[in-house]
Symmetry: C2
């Protein structure tokens, strides 16, 4: 059977089994062939909606038998082309696997299916006094967050998905099912397959169940914004907060362009200036102590007065605005698309890295708000490009390449949290060098026919 014949056969078999839980509709396929950034749509041949691990396994077995590519899909919020079906094939949409299987209140963990939305998990947890802190901002699924090793605003205090996934159920490329990790807080039992799967972007297996660490909702929470005359002052404050070991829950930077964009989009009314968004978690006394330390550092660095959000709904509005910053950026121009960079550097180099980046951006022909999870040394520039303007993509990509080379020269990484996907394969080689060949050997050992999300992470050269 040739390629076309094989995919027709897979489609027919899946239609017979999954009936209305699969689709070849062009709109549905298109919607599953893109994330939230500029990478062109690449639609899969079919989308299927399994409800159990066993169903995922059966789909994978069928595709493995026919050599058909498989692309796992959560909510389509990735930024580096992770869900694009660049070689066609079957998209496994996990949104119907959205059960919270167990909340183990006493152990502060939970077991969930990968299609659970981050926000829904926290809504369900509210009465338990627990929460899941990792918050990349997007309306994403937990499975997608596992796949990209997501982090976001709270990572400075609570870590990333790397630190907060305890175990996984994974369907491998041959359809077999394994469990990795478990519910104990630590283990030295063999290779750390959990951490290997976290961040593997669907190229090593399909995650069908996730055990997550949860955290107690703090006794007290306080959030504030504070602005500075220069971005240097803001960054210097962040560096000192981190070096002093103040356990801030969030410490987010927005440059003046970002603040202007969120003001327009979310009606915030902030002064248009470099601004830190802060949140403190702890006991009442602990929060007060942290806030006083950060206020003192802010003042020493020439920052303004803290504007506190005392009510929960004000905090919620503030963080929603922060999370919508990317959409606020896109709204600066009609019919725009975004290219979002994602470097992360050691904190001591953050001021240099941001200063040099801002200098570069002064030459940029398009809006380019800068913002980030600066407590981790992680920041983004969102290039707001006209749709169908290859020269703007070229310009943004050029500035992006310079940002990454700068970050690498400072001991940093080409991606703090968005992953490699289609967009950073060469940059991964620049960063990891010969280690990419070790990644490739692992990929080949676990997926010898390269059916799991093919074309992602690795350049075609590095997989041969």
């Amino acid at each position: 059977m040739d390629g076309a014949g094989r995919i027709e056969d897979v489609i027919a078999t899946l239609q017979a089994e999954f009936k209305e839980r699969c689709s070849v509709n062009a709109d549905v396929r298109d919607r599953h062939g893109r994330g939230e950034s500029w990478h062109p749509v690449a639609a899969p041949d079919m989308v299927v909606y399994p409800q159990t691990t066993e169903e995922v396994s059966r789909i994978v077995c069928l595709c493995a038998d026919r050599g058909t590519p498989i692309i796992p899909f959560g909510a389509g919020t990735s930024l580096e082309g992770q869900v694009q079906a660049v070689r066609g094939g079957v998209c496994i949409d996990l949104s119907q696997m959205n059960a919270i299987v167990a909340v183990n209140h006493e152990d502060m963990d939970c077991v969930i299916q990968p299609g659970v939305m981050r926000a829904d998990l926290n809504a369900q947890l509210r009465d338990t006094g627990l929460f899941f802190p990792i918050d990349p901002g997007a309306e994403c699924t937990i499975g997608g967050m596992v796949a990209t090793r997501a982090s976001g605003t709270n990572a400075v205090r609570y870590g990333t998905m790397r630190e907060n996934v305890l175990g996984l159920t994974v369907v491998l490329a041959d359809g077999s099912v394994i469990k990795t990790g478990g519910r104990s807080r630590k283990s030295a039992a063999g290779y750390d397959l959990t951490r290997l799967m976290v961040g593997s972007e669907g190229t090593l297996g399909i995650v069908t169940e996730v055990t997550l660490k949860l955290h107690g909702i703090p006794e007290a929470t306080a959030a504030a914004v504070v602005n500075f005359q220069s971005i240097d002052q803001a960054v210097e404050t962040v560096i000192q907060v981190i070096q002093l070991g103040v356990p801030v829950a969030r410490i987010e930077l927005m440059d003046d362009v970002s603040v202007d964009a969120v003001n327009r989009y979310s009606d915030l009314g902030l002064s248009v200036a470099p601004t830190l968004f802060l949140e403190f978690h702890g006991s009442i006394a602990g929060v007060q102590e942290q806030a006083e330390m950060v206020e003192a550092l802010t003042s020493e660095n020439g920052g303004g007065a803290f504007e506190w959000s005392d009510k929960a709904e004000d905090r919620s509005k503030l963080w929603q605005a922060r999370h919508n910053a990317y959409y606020a950026g896109l709204a600066l121009k009609p019919d725009s698309i975004g290219l979002v960079t994602d470097v992360c550097v050691p904190i001591s180099r953050l001021a240099d890295c941001i200063r040099e980046t801002k200098a570069d951006l002064s030459q940029c022909s398009m809006p380019a708000p800068l913002l980030g999870h600066v407590g981790d040394g992680n920041f983004h520039v969102c290039f707001i490009m006209d749709k169908d303007a290859p020269d703007q993509i070229e310009e943004a990509e050029g500035l992006h390449q310079r940002m990454v080379k700068r970050a690498l020269s400072m001991g940093g990484t080409c991606t703090g949290e968005h992953g490699i996907g289609l967009g950073k394969q060469e940059l991964l080689e620049d960063e990891a060098g010969a280690a990419v060949s070790v990644m490739a050997r692992i990929k080949q050992a676990l997926d010898p026919d390269n059916i799991l999300n093919p074309g992602k992470i690795f350049t075609s050269d590095s997989l041969t």
Copy 2:
């Protein structure tokens, strides 16, 4: 060339190059063929002491060419037979690679060679205001701690080696050198090879450089011991402390047998009763707040009064005694050897697991102190056996097997921190099931000739 001829050839080549930095002396080989537990000595054919990554690479290339096994060696403190040269070969003793390459004070990280001793690192760091918290108790090297994914008393607050290694330099089975991870606090750049190497017990590569996360020495530190009438009361207190989210730095349990042993060995004069050893880190106010919360919970559970160690030297004596608990156990009987179990369970099951274990131990014919890092749900029973008493090994191993099956039935793991080595290969299969075959495929992809620490982690069946 036959096997004997090949090893003679390797020895001659290494002697020519490394001269006095290698040895075939029987005592030296014996000392490198054992850890600190009952597993019989299995001496390597030669011990070599490289000083650079390039030297390690050359040794590995030579051994790879001849199919000679390679066993990396730190300080010989492992407990599951990780350094035994069960197939002969060349032991690479990394103790001469003990340089602290860089301390990046502003970024709170450091780069070190693997032979650096944990205690020496902290001695060197003292003036920087930083420390490396992971403390398994043994006089071990950082490289050994990487290899076994070590943790110990401080892990409840600071995490294990999994959370505190930022990057590695690794010599692979073909002698090639890779760097994994880096100095940024987070990254989503490809597969997490750092976490794959951490805990791989020398079976995937030889670690020749380690980048570690450091932490600020807390403003205030306070340590205390408190005893209870029953072990149940002590464990219940621990569970409540953890569930309340009190950020204790250490919370260690010793049963009455352990306390009696450390009293004798370290002249502590504690009441012989189930006891918690506690340490609090934070600001002055924070430590006081934590201590008050734990004292209140202790009192509710019928515990006694806190006995504080106010001076640094008293704290140091207390923790040294805790760390020497294994040797204190061994000193209970002349000419004894130890079999140390290492289960870890979700905290909600800790009381059940310890209660059932203690009931089992009441039938045991030998001293069997119980102690552990209970804040993580991790505890040990040290069976103190006569040397050359196979019936005692059999009895201890029987009780050990029952402990592990109990822990697994409670969602736990067969090893919280000691690793698999020779001692737990079947137990790993019980715990991880089909996931072991994934580990084996990774091993085969990275070390196809099985020269890196062969015979460890995997049963011979699982590697074929």
